[in-house]
C-alpha cells in the first residue's frame, strides 16, 4: 500500500516546518509520507553526535497514528498483532508486528495502551484500510489520527534533564511507559535510537509551541534539531529494523515471496502462539522451525560501509545481501544487518563474506569483507534503561 503522491502537489509542510526551515543549512529535504522531512539539517556528523552525546529533536509527525477504541478493542488488536496485547498494561507501550494470513510481516510499530479500551498504534505504512478490515466484526472503532496528532522525538543522554528544565516531570517513566503529562501532551519513553529518549505527542497545532518550549529549555543541554540520516545510524547500532529496507511490507510488494515472517527477522519473541488465534497464526505455526532466511546482525571487516552488498558463503556461493550497513562511530565498528539464506545463516555463519564495491576517485574496487555475526545490539547503553534517568 504505497502512497501515490501527485508530483504537482509537492511536499506538505509538517507541523514544525518553519522551525526546521530556519535550522536547515543543508536543505536536504526528502519525502516522508508526503511531508517534507529533513535528511539532515546541518551535517550528519554534528547531528549524530548530538544524538549520542547530548540531545536531539526530530519531528516524527509523518508517522501514521491510529486510535483504536471500544469494548472489543483489546480482542480486535489481539487478533491483529502477534503479541498478547492483554499483557500490555494501561500506560505501557509495546513494540508489535502484524502479519498477513501467510504469516508475512505487514508492518511493525508501537502500540500504546492509553486506557482500558483506548489504544494508539504508530507505524510507518498507511494502515487504515487494513485496520478497517481488521475491525469488522468487533465492537471497536478506528480513527486515523495521522494528520491530527503531531510527534516530536527527543533522544539522547540529556533528554531527561532537558524535559525537566522544560518543566515536564517524567522522572517516573520507565522504558516503554507512557503518560499524559499535560491535558494535551502525551509522553512516552520510547524511541528509534536505543538510547535514553522520549517521544512527545500533541495536537498538530500545538506542536510548534512544544518545539519552542523544548528548544528554549535545551540551550545549555546541547539540544540540536536533526534529520533522519543521524537516526538511521543510531537505529542500526541499536539493531532496529526499518520497513522497506530490512523487510518489505508485504502489502507493498508486487512480486511473490518477498514477504518475511517474524522468525526470519529475528522477532520470534514477539510471536505468542499461546494467546489464541491471531492473523497468520496457522501459517506461522507451520513454518516456525523452517525459516527461509535469517536477518543477522553482523560485524563487517574493514571500514567501508556494506550497504546493499551481496553476501557470499565461502566467497563463492551467493546466499544473501546486506540491507543496512554503516560505520558505527560509537561502537567504532563497521556494522550491518544482513539477510542470509538458511542453512548458511545457521550452519555457515563463520564463513560469510560481503562483496563490497567501493568507488575510489573514479575507480571501482571490490572487497570481500568477512562477516562476523553478533548477538544483541551493537550499542546498548545502560543509561537507556535507568529509572529515574541520569541527567548527564
Amino acid at each position: 500500500m504505497s502512497i501515490m503522491t501527485d508530483p504537482k502537489l509537492g511536499l506538505m509542510d509538517g507541523p514544525v516546518h518553519d522551525r526546521l526551515e530556519r535550522l536547515s543549512c543543508s536543505r536536504r529535504w526528502y519525502d516522508w509520507a508526503g511531508y517534507a522531512a529533513p535528511a539532515t539539517l546541518e551535517t550528519l556528523e554534528n547531528e549524530y553526535f548530538a544524538l549520542r552525546n547530548q540531545a536531539a529533536l526530530l519531528d516524527i509527525s509523518p508517522m501514521k497514528k491510529y486510535r483504536i477504541t471500544g469494548p472489543a478493542s483489546e480482542a480486535m488488536l489481539n487478533r491483529l498483532v502477534t503479541r498478547d496485547v492483554r499483557k500490555i498494561a494501561v500506560g505501557r507501550v509495546s513494540y508489535v508486528v502484524w502479519c498477513d494470513e501467510e504469516g508475512m510481516l505487514i508492518d511493525d510499530g508501537t502500540l500504546f495502551r492509553l486506557a482500558q479500551d483506548e489504544w494508539l498504534l504508530c507505524c510507518q505504512e498507511p494502515m487504515l484500510t487494513w485496520l478497517c478490515d481488521a475491525v469488522w466484526g468487533f465492537d471497536a472503532r478506528i480513527e486515523d489520527d495521522s494528520d491530527r496528532l503531531a510527534g516530536l522525538a527527543l533522544q539522547g543522554p540529556t533528554s531527561f534533564a532537558l524535559l525537566e528544565a522544560a518543566g515536564l516531570d517524567v522522572a517516573t517513566l520507565r522504558p516503554f511507559d507512557c503518560a499524559r503529562i499535560a491535558p494535551d501532551l502525551l509522553v512516552s519513553r520510547t524511541g528509534f535510537t536505543g538510547d535514553l529518549g522520549y517521544e512527545l505527542w500533541t495536537d498538530w497545532p500545538e506542536a510548534a509551541a512544544l518545539w519552542d518550549r523544548l528548544w528554549d529549555a535545551g540551550w545549555d543541554l546541547g539540544l540540536r534539531g536533526i534529520g533522519y540520516d543521524a537516526v538511521n545510524i543510531a537505529r542500526i547500532e541499536a539493531g532496529f529494523i526499518t520497513a522497506g529496507v530490512d523487510f518489505q511490507p508485504v502489502h507493498a510488494t508486487e512480486r511473490l515471496h518477498r514477504g518475511r515472517t517474524p522468525f526470519e527477522l529475528g522477532l520470534s519473541r514477539l510471536v505468542d502462539f499461546d494467546k489464541g488465534h491471531f492473523n497468520g497464526r496457522r501459517a506461522l505455526w507451520k513454518v516456525r522451525n523452517s525459516p527461509r532466511s535469517l536477518l543477522l546482525r553482523v560485524d563487517v571487516e574493514g571500514f567501508k560501509p556494506a550497504q546493499d552488498a551481496l553476501v557470499y558463503h565461502g566467497r563463492r556461493r551467493e546466499v544473501g545481501h546486506i540491507t543496512s550497513g554503516v560505520w558505527s562511530p560509537t561502537a567504532k565498528r563497521n556494522i550491518a544487518l544482513a539477510h542470509v539464506e538458511t542453512p548458511w545463516a545457521i550452519t555457515g555463519k563463520t564463513n560469510l563474506f560481503a562483496d563490497i564495491y567501493v568507488l575510489e576517485e573514479g575507480q571501482w574496487n571490490r572487497r570481500m569483507a568477512r562477516l562476523t555475526p553478533q548477538t544483541g545490539a551493537f550499542f546498548k547503553p545502560p543509561r537507556a534503561r535507568l529509572t529515574p534517568p541520569a541527567r548527564h
Binding site: 487478533r79 494470513e101 478490515d133 466484526g137 497464526r281
Partner: protein
C-alpha cells in the same frame, strides 16, 4: 449434553448427506436443525402438496445416492422426466420432450434439430466437466494426502482425454463458449423465440445474472450435468428430502430439530463442539456447518479467523433473485393447446432470450421485474385443490424499498398478469396464493440473501474459489470446522454433493 464424533449444523439436503456419509463410515453423528422439520430449503412446505420453495429435482448425483445407500435407479430418484412447455403469448407454445421440440399442436418446430443438437452438445460438455464438478475442487491442500492428489490428477487427465476425444474443432468451440453468455450461445444456433428463451431461463434460474451476463453458458452446462432432465418424484420434492432424512436416521445419526446452534466452540484453535440456543453443549472434534460461510464465521467468532478470510467471506456475492409463489386454482392448470394428453409438465414463461434479459434489468437497480420469468409446475393434491407452484424471477433480495406487504402484492400482481398474458383466463382461476420472497427465504432457511445456492454460482465463485479464495476446500478456520452447505463446491440445486464432499474431506479422505 453428550459427546459425538461429529456434529452437523443444518438439516437441509447437504447437512443430511454429510451426516449420513459420516455415520455410514462409523462416526457417531448428531445433526441440529433450527426448524421443526428436516429438509431445509427443499423440504419446507406450506401445506400438503405445496412445496414452499423447491419444486423440481434435477442433478441428484449417482455418487450421492451411492453414499447414502440408495439406488439412483429406484424411488425417489427414478421418476420419469417431465416435458417442458415453453409458453408463448401468441399461443404457439413449444413442447420439449426428451430434448425434442414440437409446437403444442403437434406440428414440427423449425428449430427442433438445432435445439436438439445444442442440447446434445451441452450434455457432452457436461460429461467432460462432471468429473471435476463432482469431486472436491482441484488443488486440495497437501495434507489431503497423495491418494487424493493422484485422484485429482487422474480427473484432470480424464478431462484432457475427453477434450481430445471431441476433436479439434469441437474442443475449440467448447473453449469458446465455456466462459461466454447464454444469449449469444443460444441465438447463434436458434431463432429468437420460446426455445431460446427456455435455454436462457434455465441458465439463469436462481442467479443474479441475465442471459447476457458472462459465464451463463457455464451455469447451463452445470445444470445440465446429468442430462438436464427435471423430475417430480411421487410425493413431491418434500418426499425426496424425507428419503434423505430417513437415510440419515437409518445410518444412525441423531437428529435434533427445532434446536438452533448458538455458537461453535473452540479450544486452542480446534473445534470442540457447539452450544445450542438453550445453553446446552454438545461436544465433537468435527463440526460441519451447512449455513453460509458468513453465518458459520459469526457462530464461531470473528476472532478465530484471519482478517483476509473475514473480508472474503464478507464479499461473497449472494443476492437472491427468485421468489416463490404458489397459486391455488379452481381447476387444473391447463393452457390451451399446451399439451395433448393431460399429464405432469413444467411450464416456463420466457418467450424469448431478450425477454429474460429485460426481466433481469430492473433487478440490477433494486427493482422487481414487471414481466418476470416464471417456472411453473402444477401440483395435484389428491382430494384437495389444484395448486401451481411458481419460481418467479427477478425479485431481488435487496429491493430498494424493502419487501413490504405492498411490494409482495405487487409481485403477485405482476406474476398473475404475466401468466394471464400467456394463459388467457388464468387470473379468474386463482382462488388463493402464497408468496415467499428472498428476505423470507433467508429468514426461514438462513441462506444468505435468500439465494438458493447460498453464494452466486459465477465464475469467480466456483471450483476451488467457492465460496471464496483460500476457503475452497471445505476446511474453514479452526481445525475440525468444515463448511458443507451449498456455498461450497459444487454448489446448489438439489444435489447433496457439497455435503458429501465436505464429509469425505472431514474424514481426511477426499474422493
Amino acid at each position: 449434553m453428550s459427546n459425538f464424533d461429529a456434529i452437523v449444523i443444518g438439516g437441509g439436503i447437504n447437512g443430511l448427506v454429510a451426516a449420513t456419509v459420516l455415520a455410514r463410515r462409523g462416526k457417531s453423528v448428531c445433526l441440529f436443525e433450527q426448524n421443526d422439520t428436516l429438509g431445509g430449503m427443499a423440504g419446507l412446505s406450506d401445506g400438503p402438496g405445496t412445496p414452499a420453495l423447491a419444486h423440481l429435482v434435477y442433478n441428484i448425483s449417482p455418487k450421492v445416492a451411492l453414499e447414502i445407500g440408495s439406488d439412483i435407479d429406484a424411488w425417489p430418484f427414478s421418476a420419469p422426466a417431465l416435458p417442458t412447455v415453453a409458453l408463448a403469448e401468441s399461443g404457439r407454445h413449444v413442447i420439449v420432450r426428451d430434448g425434442r421440440a414440437t409446437f403444442a399442436d403437434g406440428t414440427p418446430h423449425p428449430d427442433a434439430d438445432a435445439f436438439q443438437a445444442l442440447n446434445e452438445r451441452i450434455a457432452r460438455y457436461g460429461d467432460i466437466l462432471r468429473a471435476i464438478a463432482e469431486a472436491p475442487p482441484p488443488g486440495m491442500p497437501k495434507h489431503a494426502g497423495y491418494g487424493a492428489a493422484l485422484r485429482a490428477v487422474r480427473r484432470l487427465g480424464r478431462m484432457g482425454m475427453g477434450l481430445r476425444a471431441m476433436g479439434k474443432a469441437e474442443t475449440r468451440r467448447f473453449m469458446q463458449v465455456l466462459l461466454s453468455n447464454v444469449y449469444d450461445f443460444a441465438l447463434d444456433d436458434l431463432d429468437e423465440g420460446p426455445l431460446a428463451g427456455l435455454l436462457a431461463a434455465d441458465a439463469v434460474r436462481g442467479a443474479a445474472a441475465g442471459p447476457r451476463s458472462p459465464g451463463t453458458v457455464f451455469n447451463l452446462i452445470y445444470r445440465m450435468g446429468h442430462g438436464g432432465h427435471v423430475r417430480v418424484p411421487e410425493g413431491g420434492v418434500g418426499a425426496v428430502l424425507t428419503h434423505f432424512a430417513t437415510a440419515a436416521r437409518d445410518a444412525g445419526c441423531r437428529m435434533q430439530t427445532a434446536r438452533a446452534v448458538a455458537r461453535i466452540l473452540t479450544t486452542d484453535d480446534c473445534v470442540t463442539g457447539v452450544e445450542i440456543a438453550d445453553g446446552e453443549i454438545a461436544h465433537a472434534p468435527l463440526v460441519l456447518a451447512s449455513p453460509g460461510a458468513g453465518t458459520t464465521l459469526s457462530l464461531t467468532g470473528t476472532d478465530h479467523f484471519d482478517i483476509e478470510t473475514a473480508r472474503r467471506v464478507r464479499k461473497i456475492r449472494a443476492r437472491g433473485t427468485a421468489a416463490k409463489i404458489n397459486f391455488e386454482l379452481s381447476r387444473p392448470f391447463a393452457p390451451e393447446n399446451a399439451l395433448g394428453p393431460p399429464g405432469p409438465a413444467r411450464y416456463v414463461v420466457a418467450p424469448s432470450a431478450a425477454y429474460v434479459e429485460r426481466a433481469f434489468n430492473p433487478s440490477k437497480y433494486g427493482a422487481m421485474s414487471e414481466n418476470p420469468v416464471i417456472e411453473a409446475v402444477p401440483q395435484s393434491v389428491s382430494g384437495g385443490r389444484d395448486w401451481l407452484s411458481c419460481i418467479v424471477q427477478y425479485a431481488p433480495s435487496d429491493l430498494a424499498q424493502g419487501w413490504t406487504d405492498a411490494a409482495r402484492a405487487r409481485l403477485l400482481r405482476h406474476t398473475t398478469d404475466t401468466l394471464t398474458a400467456v394463459v388467457p383466463g388464468f387470473s379468474e382461476q386463482v382462488t388463493g396464493s402464497q408468496i415467499t420472497t428472498p428476505d423470507q427465504i433467508e429468514a426461514r432457511t438462513g441462506a444468505p440473501g435468500g439465494h438458493w445456492h447460498q453464494a452466486e454460482m459465477s465464475l469467480d465463485q466456483v471450483l476451488s474459489v467457492r465460496p471464496a479464495n483460500m476457503i475452497g476446500h471445505y476446511a474453514f478456520g479452526p481445525k475440525g470446522l468444515f463448511l458443507c452447505g451449498a456455498s461450497t463446491h459444487p454448489g446448489g440445486d438439489i444435489m447433496g454433493l457439497s455435503g458429501c464432499n465436505a464429509a469425505l474431506c472431514a474424514l481426511g479422505d477426499p474422493a
